[in-house]
């Protein structure tokens, strides 16, 4: 296991080295790190092993599909293609000089980027794992779990009993598919992001934005009378305060998923930045002597990241469950808050 990690790190190091060489001249760790955690139109696995992904553009309603390899010439230099140009990781309409044109309106980029490709890969993995497990459940009906099933069963039961039942209450069952899906989706993608050459999918704000928005939508649509009652007429608060209370409560609805979005994005991105920074130290000092220290710290960080990968999946799922729980909770003593008559 340890050997495997060292091997993985050596790949990562080679990749970093290649990057440093490609820059030519001064080593800029900031650019390197940003390049690694940002999205890309090609998937660079290792030096010389690059997968060029398809570019899909909607230009004024007309779809344009071509390979991202068209943006590179034989010397791996960027060139404009078909009236578009790749500049600083984004595709723009090109002007006559091959520079981004001034008018970029109605150009939508739906390309299968590195993150999208990684997303598809993770989805295939999710299907492979959980359809296999579902199959084992059908096969081993009423028997003890076996193989991969016995690894995931305690986790599924943990999500059900500790996350869903504990925070949502008796109506937990209808939220189980969503909670299990986000838990395993985030966990798997966090782990895939830690693989050498892996994409930083869960550290991308667009992904966490979508996940947080789904949690928000489910919360809002499952909110019962008592949930909305607490927002528009908070019990125990005088009526004349409602011009302040209602906006505050409405902002509160949005800040919860916003915190989910930022927490996952920041944690995963920060982990990637720390590991990459530790490796960059070797090139900043331009000394092999720094390497053992960097690698030691990076290995420590990597183990921490493995924990964070699970922890962030857990926290995202737990908080989602708590928000759902708050939305479906029944207050059988509405109107009794703050009156102090104790008639519970």
């Amino acid at each position: 296991m340890k050997k495997l990690f060292i091997l993985l790190f050596s790949f990562l190091t080679i990749s970093v080295h290649a990057e440093a060489a490609a820059e030519g001249g001064e080593f800029r760790p900031g650019d390197l790190i940003m390049h690694h955690i940002a999205d890309d139109y090609s998937w660079h696995f290792a030096d010389g092993v690059t997968l060029y992904l398809p570019v899909i553009l909607i230009d004024n309603g007309t779809p344009q599909v071509f390979s991202s390899s068209n943006f590179y010439d034989e010397n791996h230099a960027l060139v404009p293609y078909n009236g578009y140009v790749l500049n600083h990781g984004h595709i723009y309409r090109a002007d006559a000089n091959g520079q981004p044109a001034a008018d970029q309106s109605s150009l939508l980029d739906f390309s299968i980027t590195k993150n999208v490709a990684s997303l598809f890969a993770s989805v295939i993995l999710l299907f492979a794992v959980f359809l296999t497990i579902a199959g084992s459940y059908k096969k081993n009906r009423g028997k003890a779990p076996s193989g991969i099933q016995s690894f995931f069963e305690p986790i599924i039961i943990f999500v059900r009993d500790e996350i869903a039942k504990g925070n949502i209450g008796p109506k937990y069952e209808r939220y189980m598919p969503y909670l299990l899906t986000i838990f395993f989706f985030i966990w798997f993608n966090n782990l895939l992001g830690l693989m050498p050459g892996g994409a930083n999918l869960t550290g991308n704000i667009a992904v966490t934005l979508v996940l947080a928005t789904l949690t928000l939508l489910i919360t809002v649509f499952s909110g019962n009378k008592s949930y909305w009652g607490h927002i528009f007429a908070t019990p125990g608060v005088p009526k004349w305060l409602s011009p302040i209370m209602i906006p505050v409560e409405l902002i509160g609805i949005l800040t919860k998923p916003f915190s989910l979005m930022v927490r996952l994005f920041a944690n995963i991105t920060a982990g990637h930045i720390i590991i990459l920074s530790l490796f960059s130290l070797i090139f900043i000092f331009q000394s092999v002597a720094v390497a053992p220290i960097s690698v030691a710290f990076a290995i420590f960080m990597f183990f921490l990241e493995l924990l964070v990968a699970l922890l962030q999946a857990y926290i995202f799922t737990l908080l989602s469950a708590m928000y759902f729980g708050g939305a479906v909770e029944e207050h059988d003593h509405v109107g009794d808050h703050g009156h102090g008559d104790g008639a519970h």
């Binding site: 940003m34 497990i133 579902a134 009423g142 069963e153 599924i156 039961i157 059900r160 969503y178 667009a206």
Partner: protein, 164 residues
């Protein structure tokens, strides 16, 4: 800024993919898995409940058996006691009857002895009287064989009559 600017492409693909994943996994993975888990839990729970019930039943049976045994023992004791009472009573009645019978027989015997005695005495008396008469006759016959004696006797009688 680049990092915190969500791209429309990734938002689109993420939304589409996640919803498809959510739908397919719910239908083909979570539903059978949760169902199987629940089914297994229910079966384990019911097996445990059945075991508990069986245990209670066993305890009930045992208690009932003990109760039955105790009842049987009591019944046996009662029957034995009744039997011994009956036997005692039988012996007692038999004894009493025997005593009574004995007493009655003794009384009868005594009565019959008395009767026999009385009859014997009467017979003895009669025999004595007959003997006396016979003896007296024989004496008289011998005495009165001479006229003298007859005379004297007549005289005596007369004397006696006079005296009376």
């Amino acid at each position: 800024m680049e990092l915190v600017t969500p791209g429309i492409g990734l938002i689109f693909w993420q939304t589409l993919t996640f919803i498809v994943v959510l739908f397919l996994l719910s239908k083909f993975a979570w539903k059978p898995i949760m169902g199987a888990l629940r089914e297994r839990e229910v079966s384990i729970e019911s097996a445990l409940a059945a075991a508990e019930k069986a245990k209670l039943e066993m305890q009930g049976l045992k208690a009932e058996n003990e109760k039955l045994l105790a009842e049987a023992r009591m019944e046996r004791d009662r029957i034995l006691k009744e039997a011994s009472d009956a036997a005692n009573m039988l012996v007692e009645t038999a004894k009493q009857k025997a005593n009574e019978e004995g007493g009655r027989m003794i009384a009868q015997a005594r009565e019959s002895i008395e009767n026999e005695k009385r009859a014997a005495i009467t017979e003895v008396k009669n025999m004595a009287a007959a003997l006396s008469v016979d003896i007296a006759e024989r004496i008289l016959r011998k005495e009165l064989s001479n006229p003298q004696a007859q005379h004297e006797l007549a005289k005596d009688y007369i004397n006696e009559v006079t005296l009376n």
